[in-house]
């Protein structure tokens, strides 16, 4: 079956090394043009010397994407004239990328083939103002990897999932700083145009890449499509034409004679392989197989290393299924509502484990559990202490609950009447009222039983 669209990506990812790719300048936020030296400014006579850490990081990523690592490390010069490159050529990899032929498998089984992964230096940052172009060479020479996919994605959802997977793997490998640069060139071709190739250049940030793909697919399905290069305007949420693509640009690549061609020894690749952590795919599979988790729960929990770690620790003390349910449905939802990522909060497993235990032993109700987890997501505290102090322990005493039932029934004669006339909903309403009266502490099973006895 032919798909309605094909999507491919070239994703540029900043590696979180301490120093730049070809010089010792620090990578850190600083006043413009204060983290520079003759090398990253391209001064005549200066020369690049390779940051080996960057190659280690890039190799990690290549292995995590199941790619084949090249036998030699070769850098090339890509020549173009623009103020953002001190040398007017960018040192990148051309004929021989670091790695080729990788794969990312999406949740629906789609295999996104990774054509190549290569290492290159970032150009300087530029800001264009009216009649003025400002250049910041702090960025010049920062190590990037470029991950190039085949056009194997057939929906914006797949493109989004692909990006999420990349993000997840990067987090596990710890090679990408969350404030680092991630930008993509997005290729979208739709069936209605006869799959005319349109490339959108330089879309920055995970969120924008998603938005751009969605926009571009819609645009192409409703607009006239020509083979061209477009730009993404994040403010307007639109793409605009940059240039018609009549032929590929000619960068006149040659091997960079300043950088020694190095063999990439199998021993090096093996040593990197050994440092790879268990990756999200493997973790998901293990959670499903060994912990009997639901596949979706497992995948969502495994996507972020901090979440997975918190879950795993919890699963050793309470039932894994219970821990998974509470992590995914309650904890992640609460964090999400508060616009937070777990790794950015001080919340750890030792905060939630006592809570999960209380829930598992029915010492608190689910409702109290939900309230507590929301509060934990805001700011961690000692759960046992809080439960004691606020008297949140679940109530199972039938006398106490019975009083609450009686009071509720006398306060809500209409609901009682509705129920008697066959409205099942009224029962749930009464349940809710009783729970509220007991501040959510009454065990729902007990409430249900007593209420049924009273009115049936």
């Amino acid at each position: 079956m032919q798909s309605d669209m094909i999507i491919g990506m070239e994703v540029h990812i900043q590696l979180n090394t301490n120093t730049k790719l070809f010089c010792g300048c620090k990578i850190e936020n600083a006043q413009p043009n204060t983290r520079t030296c003759p090398v990253c400014l391209g001064h005549p006579g200066s020369r690049p010397t390779l940051n080996k850490r960057a190659i280690e990081y890039a190799t990690k990523m290549a292995l995590a994407l199941q790619s084949t690592i090249a036998s030699q490390l070769v850098f090339s010069r890509k020549t173009y004239f623009y103020p953002d490159m001190g040398k007017n050529y960018q040192i990148t990899q051309y004929e021989t990328p670091l790695a080729e032929n990788g794969t990312v498998v999406l949740s629906d089984g789609t295999k996104v083939r990774i054509k190549r992964l290569h290492v290159e230096e970032d150009p300087a940052g530029m800001v264009h103002e009216e009649g003025l172009s400002l250049v910041d060479y702090n960025r010049s020479g920062i190590p990037l990897i470029e991950v190039v996919t085949e056009p194997d994605m057939i929906s914006p959802e797949q493109a989004r999932e692909f990006m999420k997977k990349l993000q997840s793997i990067l987090a596990y490998l710890d090679i990408f700083a969350s404030d680092g640069i991630i930008k993509a060139d997005v290729n979208v071709s739709v069936k209605s145009s006869g799959f005319e190739r349109v490339e959108v250049k330089n879309v920055t940030g995970f969120k924008e890449i998603e938005r751009c793909v969605e926009y571009e697919v819609k645009r192409q399905q409703t607009d006239t499509v020509v083979k061209e290069t477009r730009a993404w305007n994040a403010e307007l949420g639109r793409t605009r034409s940059l240039r018609l693509k009549e032929s590929e640009e000619d960068y006149g690549y040659i091997t960079d004679p300043d950088l020694v061609v190095r063999p990439i020894e199998p021993a090096f690749v093996e040593s990197i392989q050994k440092t790879l952590p268990e990756l999200p795919e493997e973790k998901t599979a293990r959670f499903v197989k060994e912990h009997k988790l639901d596949a979706i729960d497992a995948r969502i929990i495994a996507a972020e290393p901090d979440v997975a770690a918190l879950y795993e620790e919890s699963s050793k003390q309470v039932s894994p299924v219970l821990a998974a349910r509470w992590v995914r449905r309650e904890l992640l939802r609460s964090l999400n509502t508060q616009g937070k990522k777990l790794k950015d909060t001080p919340l750890r497993a030792h905060h939630v484990i006592p809570l999960f235990k209380l829930i598992e032993n029915k010492q608190i109700t689910d409702r109290v559990g939900q309230k507590l987890i929301r509060e934990l997501a805001e700011e961690p505290f000692d759960v046992a202490e809080r439960v004691q102090k606020e008297g949140l322990t679940a109530v199972s005493d039938t006398g106490e609950i019975g009083t609450a039932v009686d009071e509720t029934l006398s306060e809500n004669p209409q609901a009682l009447q509705d129920f008697k006339q066959g409205e099942a909903k009224a029962f749930e309403f009464l349940m809710g009222q009783i729970m509220r009266k007991t501040k959510g502490k009454a065990l729902p099973d007990v409430v249900r039983k007593l209420l049924e006895e009273k009115i049936k």
């Binding site: 003759p38 400014l41 391209g42 001064h43 005549p44 006579g45 200066s46 020369r47 690049p48 010397t49 390779l50 010069r77 020549t79 004239f81 623009y82 103020p83 001190g86 040398k87 007017n88 050529y89 590929e248 000619d250 006149g252 690549y253 040659i254 960079d256 004679p257 300043d258 950088l259 020694v260």
Partner: protein
């Protein structure tokens, strides 16, 4: 040089010597145009400094005045590779070779003029606004290029002195042969290229121009060796070069058959043969070897050198340093305007040819093919060194022409002047041009075997 250094190491008056040297240099330069800049105040300051330190420290080059080809960076001193586009550019660092000379106690005197960015074999294609240096013996003749000012000055100045030159395809050897001095081009990667304004990155070598072969050995001893700022610089240990000087007995010399063919001036062939006969008398053996691939040398060399040069020169665009202009157009138009205005004809020609050779669709036919031929040429040399210690040939095919005549040469005739020197340069082999009569004789050794070159020294 040896006596001079010894004197300065043992309490000689370095400041007076340098003051006199600078005066003499200025006088010579008035008529001959060897320098782009003479740094008098800096030289005397440095002389005072070394003079003071020499009381407690033995500098291997104590007080030795040295000059540097314009395209090699000297901190705070205008460095332009004799191109108008870099007018006013002062590097913030010293080239490693320069730093090593300074650390050895040598005194920097000034920058010597060259063909623009090293583009020229005759010493007549300086950038706009630069004057061609005059031949030390006959002002009408060419000095040879591209380290032309260094060659001419080394011959003209009477006292102890060394000049740092740079060779991509023959730029040390040509001026040495034309001016009658010694020009040593070391193995590629033997001397750090850090701070050298690149011509052909995979071909560029810094080396000394001196009056004698032992002097060249002294300078190489100082500037050779690994430098972590240049990844390509070799980790091979540096031997004691002086130890092999004049060790002629048993030296196996093979003269390259193709280098004595038609097109090489007869008087040059005679001078070279006389020199070889002399070495034979002192215990060397001379036979002949054929290196047929050398005929591909010129095409291979220029394809690689110009492809690399066209990327190396991309940075010279009127932004960040050197010349600039008002930017009221697009970036592309601005760069074009600046480059068109400030680059000389030969530089433009070479950048255009190099850019063409690496374009998609042509890259395989030119650049990639040239890399393969280069490998073949290297193999042929390696084979030859199984049966000899040094190869020999004339350095230049012609005697220095008149500058007026040289300007009438076609671009191809100009390129052909490099025909004998491109071979060892392409192969990255160490080689030296030594005076032989009115010409220069070239000796070539295997990689990192510079000591074999020093064996040819006849007392």
């Amino acid at each position: 040089m040896k006596d001079y250094i010894q004197k300065m190491q043992t309490g000689g008056d370095i400041v007076s010597a340098i003051t006199a040297f600078v005066e003499e240099s200025k006088k010579i330069n008035e008529d001959n145009h060897y320098f782009t800049v003479i740094t008098e105040a800096q030289a005397i300051e440095q002389a005072k400094n070394i003079q003071k330190q020499a009381l407690t420290k033995k500098f291997p080059l104590a007080g030795l005045p040295f000059t540097v080809k314009d395209g090699i960076c000297v901190q705070g001193v205008e460095t332009t590779a004799s191109s108008a586009i870099l007018k006013g550019y002062k590097p913030v660092f010293n080239a490693t070779a320069v730093q090593r000379m300074i650390d050895a106690g040598a005194i920097f005197i000034g920058k010597t003029v060259q063909d623009e960015f090293g583009f020229g074999a005759l010493g007549i294609t300086q950038g706009k606004g630069f004057q061609a240096p005059k031949h030390p013996d006959d002002p009408e003749l060419c000095c040879g290029g591209s380290s032309s000012g260094g060659g001419g000055f080394t011959k003209k100045i009477p006292g102890a002195h060394a000049s740092l030159g740079e060779s991509t395809g023959g730029s040390i050897e040509a001026p040495a042969a034309f001016c009658g001095v010694v020009g040593l081009c070391p193995t590629y990667s033997r001397v750090s290229r850090y701070g050298l304004l690149d011509y052909g990155t995979s071909l560029d070598k810094i080396g000394p121009l001196t009056k004698t072969l032992p002097e060249a050995a002294t300078i190489l001893q100082v500037i050779a060796g690994h430098d972590k700022k240049d990844e390509t610089s070799s980790q091979e240990p540096v031997p004691d070069y002086a130890a092999s000087l004049g060790n002629i007995k048993g030296l196996r010399i093979a003269k390259i058959k193709e280098a004595f063919a038609e097109g090489v001036d007869e008087s040059i062939k005679n001078s070279v043969h006389e020199k070889l006969t002399e070495l034979e008398k002192q215990g060397a053996t001379v036979r002949e070897v054929s290196l047929p691939s050398l005929k591909e040398g010129i095409a291979t060399y220029f394809t690689i050198a110009l492809s690399e040069a066209s990327t190396n020169l991309a940075k010279y665009c009127g932004m960040r340093y050197g010349q600039s202009g008002s930017m009221n157009t697009s970036f592309d138009e601005y760069f074009t305007k600046i480059r068109t205005h400030h680059m000389g004809e030969e530089a433009k020609r070479r950048v255009l040819i190099g850019t063409f050779a690496r374009m998609a669709g042509y890259r395989d036919a030119f650049y990639n093919k040239a890399l393969k031929v280069r490998t073949k040429i290297i193999q042929e040399y390696k084979q030859a060194f199984k049966a000899c210690d040094v190869l020999s040939s004339p350095t230049m095919p012609i005697l220095p022409p008149k500058q007026t005549e040289a300007h009438n040469l076609t671009p191809l005739q100009h390129l052909m002047c490099d025909v004998l020197t491109v071979g060892p340069n392409l192969a990255g082999l160490p080689h030296v041009s030594v005076p032989a009569g009115k010409a220069g004789i070239m000796f070539i050794a295997d990689h990192f075997k510079e000591e074999e070159l020093f064996r040819t020294h006849a007392e």
